[in-house]
Every structure is written in structure tokens, then in C-alpha cells.
């Protein structure tokens, strides 16, 4: 299982802070995003390839081809705006 976290605008858009999902067949960030977009609605819209979002795996910034394994913490959030 993956522990998925949502932050900021995405947390509000999805009305969800976290959920648990199975590791996708591709075992990559890209595969997870495809599954989430397949939910349609705000998921397809907010995570579209034309939108700006970031993914962190186990608290490190990740790329689209970053591998995933069971037990990973995957956070999905908008580009950061601190400082």
C-alpha cells in the first residue's frame, strides 16, 4: 500500500487529506497519476498534464519516473509558495 497525502489547494479541491492506495502496476509516480486522473472530475482536471503540481516520495521531491514501492509516503501538492 501507498500512503498518499494531499496539501494546500489540492487538499481542498479533492476534499481529502490522505488515503491509502495499492502500488500501481507500473510502480512509478506516472502510473499513480494515471490512476488518479481516471477518477475523472476534479481529479482529471487538477492533475492534468497542463496543470502545475509536484510530487514528493518519502519526503523528497520526485520526478514522473520515480519508482514506488509498498509503504512509500507519496505527497501530491501545488508548486510551493513559502519564503
Amino acid at each position: 500500500m501507498l500512503n498518499i497525502l494531499y496539501f494546500a489547494r489540492l487538499r481542498e479541491t479533492f476534499a481529502m487529506e490522505k488515503e491509502s492506495l495499492n502500488v500501481p502496476a507500473t510502480a512509478t509516480v506516472a502510473g499513480l497519476l494515471i490512476e488518479l486522473r481516471a477518477r475523472g472530475g476534479v481529479w482529471a482536471d487538477a492533475l492534468g498534464v497542463d496543470k502545475r503540481w509536484r510530487v514528493a516520495v518519502n519526503q523528497n521531491m520526485a520526478e514522473i519516473d520515480t519508482p514506488l514501492k509498498s509503504g512509500d509516503e507519496v505527497a501530491i501538492f501545488p508548486p510551493v509558495t513559502g519564503g
Binding site: 496539501f7 494546500a8 502545475r52 519526503q59 505527497a75 501538492f77 510551493v80 509558495t81 519564503g83
Partner: protein, 148 residues
């Protein structure tokens, strides 16, 4: 040596400077403070809420400090970032770098701010008279981080 803190409380730059100044090898201290502005992108801001991703924040800040200390000759680094609700003129962030000579202190301080702006998991939500909205990331911040 470095100090990293994420806190709701305010900070005082004189206190942070005092810690660094006690080392007589320090000849140069550069600092940056980010403040809440009352206007952003044309709309009046009455308050600002800073959300973060606690499990990742300290790690991201530690990575930024480590990267700066690898690239420049730094004697001390301080990073303090506030979270929670803030008002215009409130302090948001302090990055302070101490070195023997000013070139290292300036470069490391600006580098750390540029990286913090694109790598540290903080998000701002502004409250205005017409409602609240999440602040959009600025393309200029990505460009600033890519300089290094």
C-alpha cells in the same frame, strides 16, 4: 553549524545574530527576511495562512543548508520559517549566513532563499476582503532557482 526552526512564534533577528557573532572568525553576516505585504497581485491582503508538510519541511530545509555548506565556505547558517496565520508586516522567514568574507555569505544566502522558494513544502493562502485564495507560484522563482 546550523539552526533550523519551523514555528508559529515570531523571531528576532538580533537574537539570531548574537548567536553567530559570538564566533570571532565570523567577519560577514548576510540575512534575508521575508514579510507579509498588504497587497499582492493587486488585491488587499488582510491575513495570510501558511500551511506546510511537517514530515518533509525539516528535511527539505536541512538539504538546502547542506547544499549551501557544500558550495560555499560558511561558518553558520540559520533558517527560521513561520507557519500558521500571519498579518501584513509580520515576518515569515529568516535566512542568515555567516562566513569569514562577504562573497560566501551573500551567495549562500541568496541561493538558500531561491531554493527554499521552490523546494520547501510551504503554501500561502491569502485572505482578502473578497475572499481567500491560494497564492500561485511565480515562474520567476523557478528561474531564480535554476541560476545556481
Amino acid at each position: 553549524m546550523s539552526t533550523i526552526r519551523v514555528q508559529t512564534a515570531d523571531f528576532n533577528i538580533e537574537d539570531e545574530l548574537a548567536l553567530v557573532r559570538s564566533n570571532p572568525s565570523v567577519g560577514a553576516v548576510t540575512s534575508f527576511i521575508g514579510l507579509v505585504r498588504d497587497i499582492n497581485d493587486g488585491s488587499g491582503v488582510t491575513s495570510l495562512t501558511l500551511e506546510h508538510y511537517p514530515a518533509m519541511t525539516e528535511r527539505a530545509l536541512a538539504n538546502i543548508v547542506h547544499e549551501a555548506e557544500t558550495r560555499w565556505r560558511i561558518l553558520h547558517t540559520t533558517v527560521i520559517h513561520r507557519v500558521g496565520e500571519l498579518k501584513p508586516t509580520d515576518q515569515i522567514v529568516l535566512v542568515l549566513t555567516a562566513s569569514a568574507h562577504r562573497g560566501d555569505a551573500f551567495a549562500a544566502c541568496e541561493f538558500m532563499m531561491d531554493y527554499l522558494k521552490t523546494q520547501a513544502p510551504f503554501w500561502k493562502k491569502e485572505q482578502t476582503p473578497s475572499g481567500s485564495h491560494w497564492v500561485d507560484a511565480r515562474g520567476s522563482d523557478d528561474a531564480a532557482a535554476e541560476r545556481w
